[in-house]
Amino acid sequence: MMASNYNAKEEDGHQPAAIGHGGAGTVKNKKPDNTAFKQQRLPAWQPILTAGTVLPAFFVIGLIFIPIGIGLFVTSNNIQELEIDYTGVDMSSPCYNCSQSYSWNSTKPCLCSVPFFLDQPFESNVFMYYGLSNFYQNHRRYVKSRDDSQLNGDKASLTSPSKECEPYRTSDNKPIAPCGAIANSLFNDTLELYYIDPNGSRTAIPLVKKGIAWWTDKHVKFRNPGGNDNNLTVVFQGTSKPVNWRKSVYELDPSDPDNNGFINEDFIVWMRTAALPTFRKLYRIIHKKTNMTPTLPLGQYILEVTYNYPVRSFEGRKRMILSTISWMGGKNPFLGIAYITVGSVCFFLGIVLLIIHHKYGNRNHSADIPS
């Protein structure tokens, strides 16, 4: 006579976890705190991107960007730049012979002079770059092939360079200093610039080699082993020069102890691997002498090249670039054009949105207010 279909529920579900009779039932949650955080009621700013709020922003962006763009564009256009390819691919080019008769072992440097004409005087400081094309300084095997502690003057790394430097780590069982592919392929053309007076005489343009590398690189990141004052020849004893170098690292600039060894600025510049396969690197600076005369007056010039660096094998190109610099760097119309474009697009979008806002916006809002 027991009930067989019992709908009213039982007092205690007998689950294993609840064997302590009524134990689970007595565990009572504490009443939740009535704090703004726990109740998700923190005071908040609740912006909404509607046509109405975005419109002014678009116009403001347009109004700011267009003038900036124009400024940048004009600045970029005022920069003077001259680029000379001296690779010597053409038969007619002055460096053709040098580029053909190239050999790593030749002791006699190959010289060639490239004449060029400057039809506009370069007024301010002129920066002289060398540029390489199709040279993959950003190749992974290449980028990592260096030993930063060796370059920082660490004696242990000097004698046993990092494994990353392979296969440019040792030569003749002696550690290479500086080791690695980057150092090994140091750009070793010498560029000299001569102004040809109308009367035919050559005047050497003074090229300054200080200040082409980052200050921090030159003074902190790169250090000669045992300090810069020591006799580098002694310090580097027991190491070998990189395979493709003609002279040792302590002979890079014997004239200036502050520019020799690892802290040679040309070397430091080269060690900063470029981002793209076509790149330029700062070579020399031509300082403006007086306010009266331009740094480089217009006229005939000659670029004297000591042609050491082979690029033909990988279809590379070598260039020499002369450029003035503004506050925004070298000649690059991209930024200016991009700013003008974005500014105009914003302005245009602002107008479109204004129309849409007037046509549709009111309809939506009027429907919303009662709700």
Partner: protein, 1006 residues
């Protein structure tokens, strides 16, 4: 004999947990990447993937270890729970884990069996005991078990009788061998729809990743076909490398995989997990879901399904205890047309029941009218209520004083409990007054004509102390009235109908006095029918039909199972939100329907389609299909085992109904219905809510199971994914928490993929400019920290506290729920949009930087930048764009958002300054030295960064504004509506009272 439920011990935790974790495909993938990085020469250091992986594994291990520790504690409490064991005639108290097969165990009333037992004897003379088997099969009914006859008398011999042992039994199976443990199914992992989308997206990204790696490998070999490109004079391979040209292609492929592997974000898993884990606290913390009476708030048992709450399409709800209070209340009775309501009834009765056979009623003499006397006698006698205690009046009094009389009555029908209780309460009120005047009359219970759903009535035949034979009958109005010959039928009928309209459960009571001759005849008929070997049921029915006639109507009772507070409002909101609400109940159809009407699930205007026949012909079902104007379907019996065809038809009909009520459902049938809907074509997301053990199967089956933590025990709550105190809390749970969590996690998932596309695609593009040499664009520190620290916190906090629309609006307007229905924010077009946005941004970053760097300088001192500056520029733009994109998506800027978003950006800047500011002694490279500072010292870099960020964000802003203006969703309208409202208030405030007080008021309102 030890019951164990935990996964780990102290010793095997680390290896076993690691093994378990790496069985997850994502973790395994990251482990592979890490191993590849360790073994082959890869572009990025193993740290970049090892550190995040270590982080993820550790966090997960801590979480799982903590959960297992809790389980250990729970198991201990079971295994150490005290058990009375009979040894050599004495009772010994021991721990349940010490039980061995063959031990004799003594179990007292209301105790849980420690193991599988064989009943030897019980304190009842007849060797019976009543057992519920809820934890085994979910049936909460009391089942009678008989002791083995041979051992029935053992209780005296073993002298346990004096200890009031209720049950004494022999342990058959103990520990992990018990039926319980064998039956114990660990809750199967429920996976949310979001997780499924996420996995689909992951596969897409895996394909992208592999194709990227393949493309790059092929292009690499095409590009370096000529030796001068492969090995120009300035960049030779090592000898070892040169010799390995056979496997080189494969390692190249792996290296590309490693380089691009960040496109599948490691940290996404840990962020999603943290979001779910931390986010669930907000549910538990919600004071709107706290019930003062019970002293409990919402409880989250699994945090994996927070977002699924925002995707529910079908709600399956239990009726009793879920929609209703499961607290039957006697409302009124009507005797001879006179209506009595409780506490005014001048009748005093008492129930004294010794076993199921003898029933005696103590009637107070204050009853004057004969019919009323009979009416209450009928109520007292005509039932199947069992009193659990032996001592009669004392215990009842005690029970009432304790305030929970229900625990003393058990019956097949809660109505009866309510009626008997009411009578008992009458005694109490009576005994307070004139106890001495009580006259006891004893009745002998002769026959019980049990209730069945066809007759819809039950009867008892009793013999009073004066030797009179009486037949009392109680049943549904429709089954009583035709059999009534005398009594005030019209008045009672009118009252009954009125009560029914009010949603009360009504019962009519009638009697018939039998002469001894008639009684003999009746006995004869009944015995004949009962002993019949064939067609017993049919013959019993015939006999009943003959006996139950010529009644005199006594009156009617009305009992109310009150609806839970705001149940109707909740159901209405759920329906407005686009959910289909099905009521699955074990109840009778009439009561269930009444509840449905009361809870506004059915309206007076809805057409009702009833599928009540047991075997409905398929043809008729087809007919029904054509007539879909009917909206409500009730189903009494689900032929779950029927043909597949039948199921489909049922499915098709019911899916077209706005509300469905399924009656007379066994627990398993409820689960079958849920399964049926789950398996239908659209694979809708189902939610089951219930409060009792009979709902457990459905709760476990549904995508989301919600348990009501009523006063009715916690079986359902414990097996559920979420437990709430009241049905009304479901509204906030789904409409607010579900909606918000869905929006949050959808953004989280999409954003994670987006930011990693932005991150990795520039690296892919860079390969075209570095000779496909796997040169990473970014520094190792950036690669490692991008997902861990630079961009992790803003999205985590966003996904915890974003409120794209206020809680009040969500509650007020349930239709907003439809905006996120059907996984709308994670559909393929949306995913495609995010991916394209990511690709577009990546191209902007890369080519923007490319043109800035293009063969020129952008410093004012003419010095040049290298590849690391290039990468840092891209990375800076990337971090800012990705963070600001999130800022644009944030609708709810609390101080936390401000802190985290601007803080992350600041952290990036500070970190970069630090990272590049020192020669780090433990690093073997110093490539980042002063790179960031040099970059910032150049004006065009700043201008370029600002420009690229603007370009990257522009399309998304335009898209947002256009969509909002031209095709606004309901949510967006609600957002704008709110803003206008706020602006309006602020404006009014400013105009009318330009005082600080008004200003403060405005801010509060805002």
């Amino acid at each position: 004999a030890v019951f164990s439920d935990y996964n780990y011990t102290l010793w095997n935790f680390i290896p076993k947990n690691l093994f378990e974790q790496f069985r997850r495909i994502a973790n395994f993938y990251f482990l592979l990447i890490f191993l590849v990085q360790l073994i082959i020469d890869t572009p990025t250091s193993p740290v970049t993937s090892g550190l995040p992986l270590f982080f993820v594994i550790t966090v997960t291990a801590i979480k799982q270890g903590y959960e297992d520790w809790l389980r250990h504690k729970a198991d201990c409490s079971i295994n150490e729970c005290p058990v009375d064991m009979v040894q050599q005639g004495t009772v010994v108290r021991t721990q349940s884990s010490k039980l061995r097969v063959g031990d004799v165990v003594m179990v007292r009333e209301d105790e849980t069996f420690p193991c599988d037992l064989l009943l030897l004897s019980s304190s009842h003379d007849d060797g019976t005991c009543y057992v519920t088997t809820t934890s085994l099969d979910g049936e909460s009914s009391h089942k009678t078990y008989y002791a083995v006859p041979d051992t029935m008398d053992f209780k005296t011999e073993q002298k346990v009788d004096s200890l009031h042992a209720t049950i004494e039994s022999v342990a058959i199976y103990t520990g992990m061998d018990t039926k319980m443990a064998l039956n114990y199914q660990s809750k199967s992992q429920k996976r949310s729809a979001v997780e499924k989308s996420m996995n689909a997206f992951l596969i897409v990204y895996l394909c992208i990743l592999i194709s990227k790696a393949v493309i790059n490998t092929v292009l690499k070999y095409a590009w370096q076909w000529s030796v001068d490109r492969d090995e120009p004079w300035y960049n030779h391979r090592t000898e070892i490398d040169r010799e390995r040209h056979v496997i080189r292609a494969f390692t190249d492929f792996l290296a590309f995989m490693v380089l691009f592997n960040y496109i599948i974000p490691v940290s996404m898993y840990v962020t999603v997990e943290m979001q779910k884990f931390l986010g669930s606290y907000f549910i538990a913390w919600d004071k709107d879901m706290y019930d003062e009476e019970l002293g409990v708030g919402a409880q989250v048992n699994t945090s994996d399904l927070n977002e699924e709450l925002g995707q529910v399409e079908y709600v399956f709800t239990d009726k009793t205890g879920t929609l209703t209070e499961n607290n039957m209340e006697f409302i009124e009775c009507c005797v001879d047309g006179h209506v009595y309501i409780p506490h005014c009834v001048p009748v005093c009765t008492s129930v004294d029941q010794c076993g199921p056979v003898w029933t005696s009623v103590c009637l107070c003499s204050c009853v004057s009218q004969e019919h009323e006397d009979l009416f209450f006698r009928a109520l007292c006698l005509c039932h199947t209520v069992q009193v659990k205690e032996e001592e009669t009046v004392d215990s009842i009094k005690r029970g009432i004083h304790l305030g929970k009389p229900t625990s003393f009555y058990i019956s097949s029908s809660p109505d009866e409990v309510a009626l008997v209780e009411e009578n008992v309460q009458c005694i109490m009120s009576g005994t307070k007054g004139v106890v001495s005047s009580c006259v006891c009359s004893r009745f002998e219970l002769l026959h019980v004509l049990n209730f069945d759903s066809v007759r819809r009535r039950m009867s008892v035949i009793v013999k009073s102390s004066s030797g009179e034979y009486l037949l009392f009958c109680k049943g549904a109005d429709t089954s009583i009235f035709p059999r009534v010959v005398s009594g005030k039928v019209e008045q009672v009928r009118a009252r009954v109908e009125q009560n029914a309209v009010e949603g009360l459960r009504t019962l009519c009571v009638a009697y018939r006095s039998l002469s001894p001759v008639e009684y003999e005849e009746t006995c004869h008929q009944l015995d004949d029918a009962k002993l019949a070997l064939q067609d017993r049921e049919q013959r019993l029915a015939q006999a009943y039909d003959l006996i139950e006639r010529d009644f005199t109507l006594l009156g009617a009772t009305a009992v109310e199972d009150r609806l839970q507070e705001k149940a109707a409002d909740t159901i209405e909101s759920l329906q407005k939100a686009g959910m289909k609400v099905w009521v699955l109940t074990g109840d009778k159809m009439e009561t269930a329907a009444a509840t449905c009407y009361a809870s506004k699930l059915f309206r007076r205007s809805t057409q009702i389609l009833e599928l009540t026949k047991k075997r409905t012909e398929e043809q008729s079902l087809h007919d029904v299909l054509f007539d879909l104007s009917r909206t409500v379907l009730r189903q009494r019996t689900l032929s779950g085992s029927g043909s597949g065809n039948y199921r489909e038809i049922f499915l098709e009909i019911s899916r077209n109904c706005s509300a469905v009520l399924c009656c007379r459902m066994a627990p398993l049938q409820k689960a079958q219905i849920v399964k049926l809907i789950k398996a239908s074509k659209e694979h809708p997301i189902t939610l089951a809510i219930g409060d009792g053990a009979n709902d457990v199967s459905m709760i476990l089956e549904a995508h989301v199971g919600i348990g009501i933590m009523g006063k009715e025990g916690r079986q359902a709550a414990r097996n559920s994914d979420y437990a709430i105190p009241k049905f009304k809390h479901l509204k906030k749970m789904l409409l607010v928490h579900g909606h918000l969590y869905y929006v949050r996690i959808a953004e989280l998932v999409q954003y994670f993929f987006y930011k990693n596309v932005c991150f990795i695609f520039p690296q892919f593009l860079y390969q075209f400019f570095c000779g496909f040499s796997q040169q990473p664009l970014y520094d190792t520190a950036y690669l490692t920290l991008y997902n861990i620290s630079f961009t992790s916190l803003p999205i985590l906090l966003y996904s915890l506290i974003e409120k794209h629309i206020s809680i009040e609006t969500l509650k007020r307007d349930p239709t907003l729920y439809r905006d996120v229905a059907k996984n709308s924010l994670l559909r393929w077009p949306v995913f495609l949009y995010w991916t394209c946005l990511g690709l577009f941004n990546a191209c902007i970053f890369f080519f923007g930087a490319y043109f800035l760097f293009d063969n020129t300088t952008f410093t004012s001192n003419g010095q040049m930048f290298g590849n690391w500056t290039f990468g840092t520029l891209v990375f800076t733009v990337l971090v800012f764009t990705v963070t600001l994109k999130l800022a644009l998506d944030t609708h709810h800027w609390t101080w936390i958002n401000h802190f985290v978003i601007w803080g992350s950006l600041l952290f990036y800047v500070i970190f970069s300054l630090l990272w590049g500011g020192i020669i780090w002694p433990f690093l073997n490279y110093q490539r980042m030295y002063y790179v960031f500072m040099q970059m910032l010292s150049s004006g065009p870099a700043w201008l370029g960064i600002i420009l690229l960020i603007t370009i990257s964000l522009l399309p998304d802003v335009v898209k947002k504004v256009l969509c909002r203006t031209l095709w606004p969703t309901a949510t967006e309208r609600a957002q704008v509506g709110r803003t206008l409202f706020r602006l309006f208030i602020v404006a009014c405030g400013l105009l009318s009272h330009f005082s600080s007080m008004a200003m403060r008021g405005c801010w509060i309102l805002a």
